[in-house]
């Protein structure tokens, strides 16, 4: 609940007093309807996606989550390989994005370089977030994979084709980086200068201050940033499907092809022929919906804690 200042309280009283001022009930209701419509769409979406998953849920139940056998030919649908791929690529992405994102956030909040240089750099990091996913995919296929292939082949003992779980995770980390970096930066910026100065005055070096004072102070917010990044990584579709190899199985190595929920929806949705096939896809989609929902709620909680702490 937002805290109202005394001024705000006073004027909101004036706003709600009947008879003192002519209220405008039509507009009042219009904005309320708009707000309800937004929630309505969300609820509608949940119902449609959940509802269309029912046939698959009835058929497979929880077995869907433990079965990795996806065989449209014999109406056997198990979603484990997609869930695995979704979570695995997201985790690989975060493994890279968290240290690098934090490193950038720290670099941009400390005074290594003058403000005039840091502002354009931070701007450029944010631009990374504006590049459409499909352009990342295009770049991934024609630039990133050919460059990485020798390394991937060496790491995998020659069996990697360049397309696979690891490649997708790497591309994802680039896409998720700006989220982690910019939110962490906001968090670090909002830590009172006095805290930092006190630590320095006590004889800590810059980096000791960062690790022992700044980051602990901003933990909630930084965790929130990471979780938000995770949410984004879980839902990415285009770039992933263009580099992951699209193989519905649990890969035997991190360099082997895999599949994610978002990618299989993009590839198979338009042409799912059987009733059960379509419903299983909806089921997988519903799982993704629920996973990202939970992750985003978690992020909310962490980020909210920061603003509450501030008050």
């Amino acid at each position: 609940m937002t805290q109202l200042t005394r001024k705000e309280e006073a004027s909101s009283e004036i706003f709600t007093q009947e008879g003192t001022l002519p209220a405008d009930p039509i507009f009042n209701n219009v904005v309320k309807v708009a707000g309800l419509a937004v929630i309505g769409v969300l609820i509608w979406m949940t119902l449609v996606v959940a509802g269309d998953s029912l046939p698959a849920i009835r058929q497979f139940g929880f077995g869907f989550l433990t079965d990795s056998n996806w065989d449209p030919n014999s109406d056997q649908f198990g979603g484990l390989s997609f869930v695995f791929g979704t979570v695995a690529t997201a985790l690989i992405a975060m493994a890279f994005a968290i240290p690098i994102g934090l490193g950038i956030a720290i670099f941009l909040t400390e005074d290594f370089l003058p403000e005039a240089v840091l502002t354009p750099i931070s701007f450029m990091v944010e631009l990374l977030a504006a590049i459409p996913s499909v352009v990342y995919g295009l770049w991934g296929i024609f630039v990133m994979i050919p460059i990485l292939r020798p390394l991937l082949q060496w790491l995998s003992g020659g069996s990697s084709s360049g397309y696979g779980l690891f490649t997708a995770g790497l591309l994802l980390s680039i896409m998720v980086l700006p989220t982690v970096a910019s939110i962490s930066r906001e968090v670090l910026k909002s830590i009172p200068r006095s805290l930092r100065n006190a630590s320095l005055a006590l004889g800590a070096t810059r980096w000791e201050t960062i690790f022992r004072v700044m980051i602990p102070a901003g933990t909630s917010g930084i965790v929130g940033a990471c979780v938000l990044g995770l949410g984004r990584a879980l839902g990415e579709t285009m770039a992933v499907t263009m580099v992951i190899g699209n193989a519905p199985e649990i890969p035997k190595s991190i360099f082997a092809p895999a599949y994610t929920i978002a990618a299989v929806l993009a590839n198979e949705f338009g042409e799912a022929s059987g009733e059960l096939h379509l419903s299983s896809l909806f089921f997988a989609g519903f799982l993704l919906f629920v996973i990202t929902l939970l992750v985003n709620i978690l992020a909310e909680i962490f980020v909210r804690r920061v603003s509450l702490e501030r008050q």
Binding site: S159, N246, S273
Partner: protein
């Protein structure tokens, strides 16, 4: 007033934007938009057809979404398109799910080529039946495997892993390919089987014939199956495969025509040739069908579509050979035209 100025400006911009956005196409009274979706196998030919037909008949615009045979069947069954396209003719089960009788009209036929990307290995690599099945089954994993070397004594094969490429979407090309693999390899038939989508033992998934061609192009050491037009148009190496009689044949119009020779076509025009006989036959061939409801909901669309189909089966057939598709045998053409006449 500030607000008024803003409102007027916003309105003016909006009008300007709408004006730019729509070259207001002066639609003739008899303009017709037809939507189709399906196979990527015949896509090079179909897009040529729709393009040429539109040039001759500017009022008729046929839009085609190449989403794979599975998608084509799915959408025509749901009636979200006016016609579907598939290289895997609908099964009785699939036909039963449709809300009306669907006519399956073969339009052309083609070969499924096996293409690869191996440094130093030119086009014409000979793969015998056992080897082909073995590669896709995951049993043969290196290019310098003795089985491949046996049929290619003069080729220097590198010690490189084979990256198998197959389709990620529901595909008629997959159906034709796996049908053949099932016919030549009892192990394949038992473990994997045939269909528009199968449980692939190995492989990277790509979307559409074009996607598989691109994936092979991009991935050193890869092998993939694509409609032969995609291989020849993009100058990709093509393997020569062993047919039922043991002869090694490269995909060609002659090879397809030889494979189709002597095939009897039942009334519903559904025929699959899993393993053709004849020394000159190319082993992996298939027909491709357009799927149309016998009774269409919209008379104008039905008439328009019929006109197009008649054109495709007569004038249209001449566009096939330059694109590596084999024109349909005359007897079959006659049967198809009779079916088209039933559309209303």
């Amino acid at each position: 007033m500030q607000t008024q100025k803003w409102t007027r400006r916003a309105f003016a911009t909006l009008v300007a934007l709408i004006a730019i956005a729509s070259p207001i196409a002066l639609q003739a009274a008899n303009a017709l938009d037809l939507n189709g979706a399906g196979a990527t196998f015949p896509e090079p030919l179909y897009t040529k057809w729709f393009y040429e037909y539109n040039k001759k008949n500017p009022d008729v615009k046929i839009n085609y979404q190449a989403i794979g045979s599975g998608g084509g069947i799915n959408q025509i069954t749901k009636k979200t398109v006016d016609f579907g396209a598939s290289d895997a003719a609908m099964t009785d089960e699939e036909l039963a799910k449709a809300p009306g009788k669907i006519l399956m009209l073969p339009m052309t036929s083609g070969a499924v080529a096996v293409t690869y990307n191996v440094g130093g290995v030119p086009s014409g690599l000979k793969l015998d039946r056992e080897t082909l099945a073995g590669i896709y089954r995951g049993r043969i994993t290196k290019w310098n495997d003795p089985k491949i070397a046996k049929t290619n004594p003069d080729v220097k094969l590198p010690n490189q892993s084979i990256s198998v490429v197959r389709r990620a979407d529901g595909s008629g090309t997959t159906f034709i390919f796996t049908n053949h693999l099932s016919a030549i390899s009892p192990e394949w038939k038992r473990d994997v089987g045939s269909g528009k989508s199968v449980k692939w033992p190995v492989g990277l998934g790509a979307k559409g014939n074009d996607g598989v061609a691109a994936q092979v192009q991009q991935t050193p050491g890869s092998i993939g199956y694509i409609e032969s037009a995609y291989a020849s148009q993009n100058k990709l190496p093509i393997a020569t495969l062993q047919n039922l009689e043991g002869k090694f044949v490269a995909p060609s119009i002659e090879g397809v025509t030889a494979a189709l020779e002597g095939t009897k076509f039942p009334e519903n025009l559904r025929v699959f040739i899993a393993d053709p006989d004849g020394p000159k036959s190319y082993p992996i061939v298939g027909l491709t069908w357009l799927l149309v409801y016998e009774k269409m909901d919209d008379k104008a669309k039905a008439d328009g579509l019929k006109k197009f189909l008649d054109w495709a089966l007569t004038d249209g057939q001449k566009y096939a050979p330059p694109l590596e598709y084999a024109p349909l045998p005359a007897s079959l053409l006659k049967q198809v035209k009779q079916s088209v006449a039933q559309v209303q």
